[in-house]
Subunit: 234 residues, 2 copies
DNA sequence: CCAAAAGTGTTCCCTCTACACCCATGT
DNA sequence: ACATGGGTGTAGAGGGAACACTTTTGG
């Protein structure tokens, strides 16, 4: 840390409460789901809310979001990206507070059910999603829009699937994200053409008698390609 | 405002200094330029810095950024978008402070030279750009990356040109953004094919004897198209 | 043997790219 | 008349979209 002189430089400037809220998306039973919980602090205690927290003085926004996600899902190393800052002066009746919203994509198979229940959290599909507190509905809508846009150019879909997945699963995921049906032949062709899916010997027989081969995404190869300007366009 | 009960709800939570910095880009003499100024507060007073300010308790981040831009350029209604939040605990030796960076695109013909000079600000090309304080170099690099990506799908280029512009001017702008030469026939064809450029009767004769027709961008028509999912792809 | 999902190829069309010459005008 | 930048058309290649049938196997 620096010295007293520099500490004084910013003395008297207006400090503000800073929070972060997470739009946590998962993919389960062929549909996208959102993790929300019952807010415990007043005002609006008992209402449905995104999971979030105030940001402490000794942590970055990312640190705070990771702390929240760990607490509510038991998961670490989750894909997470900043959405935007919500800073309207009157956005929170509890007091002036800006919020940096982040969206997180998780493989719904992996989360810790115990943690979720312990904190009064629940997964909702978007059909049955209740009204959320404050500007959280806006955050969710914007996050969905951003995920849709982003999925067209970056392979973020794989974050929502387990390590091993089948092509039909992947297609259903993209259909859920884009909200429209895709041609199965063209989809498979396109995805395989990138050379980024590694076919495994194992089959998933839960979806059909014939069984579908498992694949995994080649993150290492993609990382290299991305540096040289590769666009994962779907 | 609400009542004392709710004010108390967040009592004791950690307040933090919040700032916003603006990556102000302009296009002049065929190259992109960045507006920076000599920082006046300690620590690091006298060093080159992005223009910015602390966020007051009674204003949103956008309000703060608009205030800064007005002060330094004399301009209002500027295109501006959030880049991201910089929140590393040690990013500022002056004290814990998070910063929401925003990039702004302005028509360099329009700004108020008096305002710029009065505040010790200057336009730099990226070739001659000096080192900036704190993490401002990162912010600039990320803003450029974002502008490049965004320009491929949204008509943000027009924000950097005057209301009236010629096709060759527009092409030079895109060449400056993408850092590569474009084919003039294909470029013209593509741009005109959208039906979003309105040809004026007037010519700009500053660049050649023959003169190039002025056009303006049809913002209204684009707004409608965008709602129905139109992608302005260049 | 049948139902149910997995897997496979081809044709057409449209868009992107590459490329070279005439036009208008001020000096 | 000439130099300078503005403006136009076309042919070939490649990628996206549309489309139907065979394969596998548990029950």
């Amino acid at each position: 840390m620096e010295n007293l002189k520099t500490q004084k430089a910013y003395k008297g400037q207006p400090k503000i409460l800073v929070a972060t809220d997470c739009i946590v998306l998962g993919f389960d039973e062929g549909v996208l789901k959102l993790l929300v919980f019952k807010r415990r602090v007043d005002p609006l205690a008992g209402e449905w809310s995104l999971i979030g927290s105030f940001v402490n003085e000794d942590e970055s926004i990312t640190d705070a979001a990771r702390r929240v996600l760990l607490k509510f899902t038991g998961l670490e190393d989750i894909f997470m990206e900043e959405l935007r800052t919500y800073s309207d002066v009157d956005r929170d009746p509890g007091g002036r507070c800006i919020c940096i919203a982040q969206y997180a994509l998780i493989s719904i198979a992996d989360y810790d059910r115990g943690q979720v229940e312990k904190h009064g959290a629940r997964w909702f599909t978007f059909d049955e999603l209740p009204n959320l507190v404050l500007d959280h509905n806006d955050m969710v809508a914007e996050a969905l829009k951003k995920v849709r846009e982003k999925a067209r150019h970056r392979p973020i879909g794989f974050e929502l699937l387990p390590e091993k997945f089948t092509i039909p699963q992947l297609q259903k995921l993209y259909e859920a994200i884009y909200q429209r049906l895709l041609d199965d032949r063209n989809f498979r062709k396109k995805l395989l053409s990138f050379g980024l899916l590694i076919k495994l010997d194992e089959k998933d027989r839960s979806g059909s008698k014939k069984g579908a081969f498992y694949y995994r995404f080649d993150h290492e190869k993609y990382a290299k390609l991305e540096k040289s300007g590769f666009d994962f366009e779907i």
